[in-house]
């Protein structure tokens, strides 16, 4: 756990970059510090491993004032990854990752094992990459090495200063996803600085919005989007915050598990009665394995009253359904694009598991909107 207690940073020229910051960072979580330029987010982070001195207040790291340790010793226990990566070009990948373990005096065998382990963790083949030099790597690969290096001696805490900031948007997405996967396994306590609200929402377990050296709001992404504390936060998270919030929710959590459906081999009358019984306009059609094959509506049944196969609209589950692991935002987008009011939800194999309606999503968004307005 890291605890900022009334931390102040005043530079020699009198500028107060951080002004009485109090913040508790929970173990095993990614805490994002975000805010406009000059808000003190990077300064706050750099005080944790004492790259900057603290003017007033204190920072507790795992229950002890971080000034109780010699600075170098403290830093070796805290992983550090930065936007510019800062790999050492004269060292191989192995030597780069081994910097902290070597500082800590690990044995060579242990270091080699650790480096291979880390390379695999960040998705690079150790045999191919171990002896390469940074110049031989792409930007994305360099940043992966940067993360591996920060994890070198398996520190419980990591500081990451816009680690994916200088990378093209597509690679950035990939790296973010990969890092979230890694974090699931390693559960480090991470302070993550960024100025990109989308990245913050995606990466953060909690987000601390800062402005002019002070904390404005510290909440989970969902709460932050649903209940921005004031106009500054609302502007900062953006006008599309409702949509962003839908991006946090999974279809799995929102869908109706009971949905009217008929089997491909059923008769047309069965389908008609099922629809009428449920009081809806249409039903989904599945095959004997439960895989979504299309849908049938009242109109179709009226035109082809004898055959379900003739009455139904066939469609591939990839095109007419959404995955249960998709976000609500993706489901909304799919419905808007296809002109559906209701869309079937399928699992990885295409088996129908439920449905979600446009109305449900709208209500969700409206609810957030109302809550947000109440909060102001």
């Amino acid at each position: 756990m890291i605890e900022f207690q009334n931390v102040v940073k005043q530079f020699p020229d009198g500028f107060r970059a951080v002004n009485g910051l109090s913040l508790t960072i929970h173990d095993g979580e990614i805490t994002v510090l975000i805010g406009p330029s000059g808000c003190g987010k990077t300064t706050s982070m750099r005080m944790v491993n004492r790259l900057l001195s603290i003017s007033d207040g204190r920072i507790m790291v795992e229950g002890r004032d971080n000034r109780d340790f010699p600075a170098e010793e403290l830093r070796r226990k805290i992983g550090y990854a930065i936007q510019q990566v800062g790999l050492f070009p004269h060292m191989t990948v192995l030597q780069n990752i081994a910097v902290v373990p070597r500082l800590l005096g690990w044995e060579e065998d242990r270091i080699h094992k650790r480096v291979d382990e880390l390379l695999e963790l960040v998705g690079l083949d150790p045999d191919v990459n171990r002896d390469k030099y940074p110049r031989q790597l792409s930007g994305g690969q360099q940043q992966r090495i940067g993360v591996a290096r920060a994890l070198g001696a398996d520190p419980p805490i990591m500081l990451m200063d816009e680690p994916f900031g200088a990378i093209d948007p597509i690679t950035r997405e990939v790296l973010q996803d990969e890092f979230l996967e890694i974090q699931k396994r390693i559960s480090k306590t991470i302070i993550f600085v960024t100025h990109d609200i989308d990245e913050a929402i995606k990466m953060g377990d909690r987000i601390a919005i800062m402005r002019e050296g002070s904390l404005v709001q510290y909440d989970t992404p969902d709460t932050l989007l649903a209940k921005p504390r004031n106009r500054f936060v609302r502007d900062f998270v953006g006008a599309d915050r409702q949509l962003k919030r839908l991006g946090l929710l999974r279809v799995r959590e929102l869908m109706a598990k009971e949905t009217p459906h008929v089997n491909l081999r059923d008769r047309a009358e069965d389908a008609r009665s099922a629809i009428e019984r449920a009081g809806v306009k249409s039903a989904f059609v599945v095959d004997e394995d439960g895989v979504l094959r299309g849908w049938v509506d009242r109109e179709g049944l009226r035109e082809n009253p004898d055959s379900l196969l003739d009455a139904m609209n066939e469609g591939d589950y990839r095109e007419i359904g959404v995955r249960q692991s998709a976000t609500a935002r993706e489901a909304l987008s799919a419905m808007v694009a296809r002109g559906f009011r209701i869309t079937p939800v399928v699992n990885e194999k295409g088996v129908l598991v439920g449905s979600i309606t446009l109305r449900a999503l709208q209500e969700l968004a409206e609810q957030g909107w109302a809550e947000g307005d109440q909060a102001t």
């Binding site: 491993n49 790259l51 600075a71 170098e72 010793e73 403290l74 830093r75 070796r76 226990k77 550090y80 930065i82 936007q83 510019q84 990566v85 800062g86 790999l87 050492f88 070009p89 004269h90 060292m91 191989t92 910097v99 902290v100 500082l103 002896d131 390469k132 030099y133 940074p134 110049r135 031989q136 790597l137 792409s138 930007g139 940067g146 290096r149 070198g152 500081l159």
Partner: protein, 406 residues
């Protein structure tokens, strides 16, 4: 590995399509690969070497007055250093008709024996021990070093034959200039046919070279030590305020004419070796200090930030991160400084420090042009040679990761 374009950092004259495959290399296609080594530059070296070989193997009229007085009018000049290389027989014949005077031919080389001398045994004695370490052996050593470098760094840029060919050329040049006075005899007589005094009479070229080299090496070692220390010191946060002061002093050291420094030092320290050394140090400091500062300041700050953030101490950052990354620029400064020193060391002759300045000064005083040319050419060649050697040092000492290609 897609991505950013391949940066050819080194070797603008490089061959095309080099690859760095982590030591695995491509399949062997020796003949096709050989073609790539013979770049225009390599061919020029080869031609140069061949030319020297032919030029050195001719029968020459002897112009040396001493020898002429002794009745030697003509000789087959066989480069003495080739004897062990090609015949492996130290007593291979070097013919000087009617003379047993070996002053000329055994100079700085391996023993040479005059075949038709009246007394071959005596001649052989005069030539000295067969395995005497000479400049020739130094040249041979350079060839070996070049060869080894070529093998060691074959993966780096696939230049194996090129350095070898280049080394052969250098070998010939060193030998002909410093180890072979008939060459000078022949050259100077060609330029100044009417001059009676061709070779400088009070020192041999080799001993002048020795004096000159001593001056340059001692002053350079001290210069580099002081320069590095100063450069490192003023780039540390604690001493940064001295940076302008130091660069002013260092700059002014090079502004004051060396001759003036030499002249000022002479009354204080006296004549001879040390005043020249002091002047050389003052004069050579600028490139070392400046390049050290530029090199260290040029190290990517994010790299240093990362190093600090990982818990490296200030001295670990300096020696493990900053210096290796600045090494190329620092070494370039050292190289410049040493080369400049070769030129300025010639001025040491005015305070009696010896070196190639001696024939220049005497030649100017007595209006004997061949002496001036002898000193100037030899000094110039020494500068080129040292520059070359330091270039190789730079090549070896620059961390591989800084010059590797994708």
């Amino acid at each position: 590995m897609g991505g950013r374009g391949s940066g050819h950092v080194r070797g603008a004259t490089g061959t095309t399509g080099r690859t760095v495959n982590g030591g695995l290399g491509e399949g062997p296609r020796p003949l096709a690969a050989l073609g790539r080594f013979f770049t225009p530059a390599a061919l020029v070296w080869l031609a140069f070497a061949a030319l020297l070989f032919v030029a050195m193997n001719v029968r020459e009229t002897i112009h040396d007055p001493q020898l002429r007085a002794a009745g030697v009018k003509e000789a087959t000049i066989v480069p003495d250093l080739w004897l062990p290389v090609f015949s492996f027989n130290p007593s291979t014949v070097v013919a000087i008709k009617g003379s047993d005077d070996l002053r000329v031919l055994s100079f700085g080389g391996l023993p040479a024996v005059v075949s038709d001398s009246p007394n071959p045994a005596a001649a052989s004695d005069k030539a000295g021990a067969p395995w005497r370490v000479t400049l020739g052996w130094f040249a041979l050593f350079m060839v070996l070093v070049e060869g080894l470098l070529g093998v060691r760094y074959a993966q780096r840029d696939e230049k194996l034959v090129r350095p070898l060919v280049r080394a052969a050329g250098i070998f010939l040049v060193i030998w002909s200039i410093y180890g072979h006075e008939p060459f000078w005899d022949w050259l100077l007589h060609g330029i100044f046919p009417s001059s009676p005094d061709l070779l400088y009479n009070s020192n041999t070229v080799i001993s002048l070279a020795g004096q000159h080299l001593t001056l340059v090496l001692i002053s350079s070692v001290i210069t580099v030590a002081i320069g590095l220390a100063l450069g490192i010191m003023v780039t540390r946060a604690e001493f940064r305020e001295f940076l302008p002061l130091v660069s002013d002093i260092v700059n002014s050291g090079q502004t004051v004419p060396t001759l003036a420094i030499v002249a000022i030092m002479a009354p204080i320290i006296g004549f001879g070796f040390w005043p020249a050394i002091v002047a050389l140090i003052l004069y050579g400091l600028l490139p070392v200090v400046r390049n050290t500062i530029v090199g260290l300041e040029g190290v990517d700050p994010s790299m240093i930030d990362a190093a600090r953030g990982m818990g490296m101490t200030a001295s670990q950052i300096l020696w493990q991160i900053e210096v290796p990354n600045a090494s190329r620029i620092i070494l370039a400064g050292v190289r410049t400084s040493v080369v400049i020193n070769v030129g300025t060391a010639a001025l040491g002759a005015y305070v009696g420090s010896g070196g190639f300045g001696n024939p220049i000064a005497s030649g100017l005083n007595q209006a004997i042009q061949p002496w001036v040319l002898l000193g100037a050419l030899s000094a110039a060649l020494l500068a080129i040679l040292l520059d070359y050697i330091l270039g190789r040092v730079e090549y070896v000492m620059t961390p591989k990761g800084l010059i590797i290609e994708r």
